[in-house]
Symmetry: C2
Subunit: 349 residues, 2 copies
DNA sequence: GTGAAAGCGCTAACAG
DNA sequence: CTGTTAGCGCTTTCAC
């Protein structure tokens, strides 16, 4: 069906070796022969099969990408960055998603290894305690983590703790005192835990009491009543919510609105991720912004550098700068001690 | 480095043929032998290389996916659906994006063919006039189009013309008369053209004058002043905008808001795609909703049915139901002829 | 129940 | 400059 090098050789009247050379080292073959071979290739629509090459121990130029989900644009943005560079450099990508499930992570990695990928770019639920990654280390398979924020393994991410700290400082600078952090499942994500640590640190440093993170099921269509009650009622209800990611922030915003709360008048919201989409909201979502696409690109560059043996830097974890994207979801709270707004605390650059 | 079947054979003390059988037809080998081979496999961490199998003419179980971009969640949602089924059925996915660029479409398809994918799922800019697809037909490579709405090739999509028609009818039913359609580049997308046709039809049928579609550069951060002027000023300014996709609708909403227009009071908005994200907006975006994830799933099922030869239905194009997702971005316009609202026109189910 | 050997598409010595 | 040949990892007759 698909023509092979043999077909081309027969058609052109040369040996398969000559055809191979015509493809891989054109200058070593007689121009006339070359031309005939080329015509044969065109006539038959021949494309050399990577399988043959790969089997010969050539490089597969195949990279595996393992992501939790594409439903969260964070990962779609990363993948976009990776794909762009991969295509330009002649690599192919094999994609698998895991839905944050450890079994599927294992399965994905095994499948990809079996396929003989040269390297792996992945985001796992929890990088530090992941036996699979140790296996990769042992097996000598090159990989780079994305978003997983760990110093123990090759990784590219923002400094989640510091970024969360900066974000919460911004809320405090706007006069907020009762700030609550919302998260998916803390236990399931190393990032969420670091973000909580940053939140706690910022609170304590301002002489405030960090509250336990409120865990939200964020696939649910509605905020559960108990959560809503927690957010909306009582004299000690929070004035600001720090959400561990933008998608969660959007769901929460909708829930609050359905409960007739105005954002930011009744509640300020700060997200995390910096999704482009957030800026299209009304009011535009304030967010601790990570350069998602760039994280994907950086992970790619590092992986390739590893593969080519040109990676100079010895440090495992690479931290990309975050920024605080201000947005109208944060209101300033009048200072209790006077009429002024508390804008005096400066946030770090 | 990676152990091969030879290593296993040597370790277990049998021939490679026996190892192969132990893996592929366990019942044909002596239980004791089987056990020894299994231990060898575990001890060495052996995973059979798909390359060897594939080279033998076995199936590659590789499917190529070609998408314009992942920046638009429409495609991320489709891919999510595909990936889910593919993983469950033991196929691997090779992903390439094209940014709606014909050269990149060509390159993607060639790369994937060279890799010996068994089939292709793709969304191209324009399905009817695409020479590459004819080549696929000729070459006998199985493929299914997603979102491309054509009767000439295997495809899964909504009925774009009808869906747009239904959407615009809804606007009309709310009393709108001056309705403008906004699109990216009409010339670049078969879908956009069909949606325009649906718009025109609905307008004409209501005795209204369809306006030429207004083409918007939707990567631009701002709406250009001339567009804004067109939308915002004059007695004959539109009261409603039908946007050819949700992302465009969101950008337009932001632009209008920056120009101090209120949605939906000053302008009603109807999108197309039914992105989940749109419901999180404020006001929630009304949209002609396509079952994106399901489109991906349906395309997958069809591709597999083709490959297995179990595809019964002779029809090429498969149409999935759309629905009109009502949302607060559409305001009712008082009927000019009286004080009542024009809600009497019923939209089809 | 097991092994030897051929061959899938290709590249890389090695001859001629 | 070109052809012959071996071998990459695997499955699959065909013998034993």
């Amino acid at each position: 069906m698909t023509p092979t090098i043999k077909d081309v050789a027969a058609y052109a009247g040369f040996s398969i070796a000559t055809v191979s050379r015509a493809i891989n080292a054109p200058h070593t073959v007689n121009p006339v022969t070359l031309e005939k071979v080329r015509q044969a290739i065109n006539a038959l629509g021949f494309r050399p099969s990577p399988l043959g090459r790969q089997l010969r121990g050539e490089r597969t130029r195949l990279i595996g990408v393992v992501l939790p989900t594409l439903a969260n644009p964070v990962f779609a943005e990363c993948l976009q960055g990776i794909d762009e560079l991969a295509a330009a450099e002649g690599y192919r990508l094999m994609l698998m998603t895991t839905q944050y499930d450890a079994d599927r992570e294992r399965h994905a990695i095994e499948t990809l290894r079996a396929q003989r990928v040269e390297g792996l770019i992945l985001t796992v639920a929890d990088a530090d305690t992941h036996p699979l990654l140790d296996e990769l280390d042992q097996a000598g398979l090159t990989y780079v983590l994305m978003h997983n924020d760990t110093v123990r393994r090759p990784s590219v991410s923002v400094d989640n703790r510091q970024a969360a700290y900066d974000g919460v400082r911004t809320l405090i600078a706007h006069g907020h005192r009762r700030i609550l952090m919302l998260a998916g499942t803390l236990a399931a994500s190393d990032r969420a835990r670091l973000r909580y640590a940053g939140y706690s640190q910022a609170m304590q440093q301002a002489g405030l009491e960090p509250a336990p993170a409120l865990e939200i099921d964020f696939n649910a269509d509605e905020l559960v009543p108990s959560v809503l009650a927690h957010l909306a009622h009582g004299a000690s209800r929070p004035t600001a919510l720090f959400c561990s990611n933008d998608l969660l922030a959007m769901v929460v915003m909708r829930g609050l609105r359905r409960a007739q709360l105005d954002i930011p008048r009744d509640m300020s919201i700060l997200g995390f991720d910096g999704l482009a989409m957030g800026e299209l909201l009304s009011p535009p979502l304030a967010s601790v912004s990570a350069p998602n696409r760039e994280i994907g690109c950086a992970a790619w560059r590092r992986l390739v550098a590893y593969l080519d043996g040109t990676y100079a830097d010895a440090s495992l974890s690479q931290t990309l700068p975050h920024r605080i994207r201000e947005g109208a979801t944060i209101a300033a709270i009048p200072d209790a001690s006077g009429g002024r707004f508390m804008n005096t605390i400066r946030t770090p650059a």
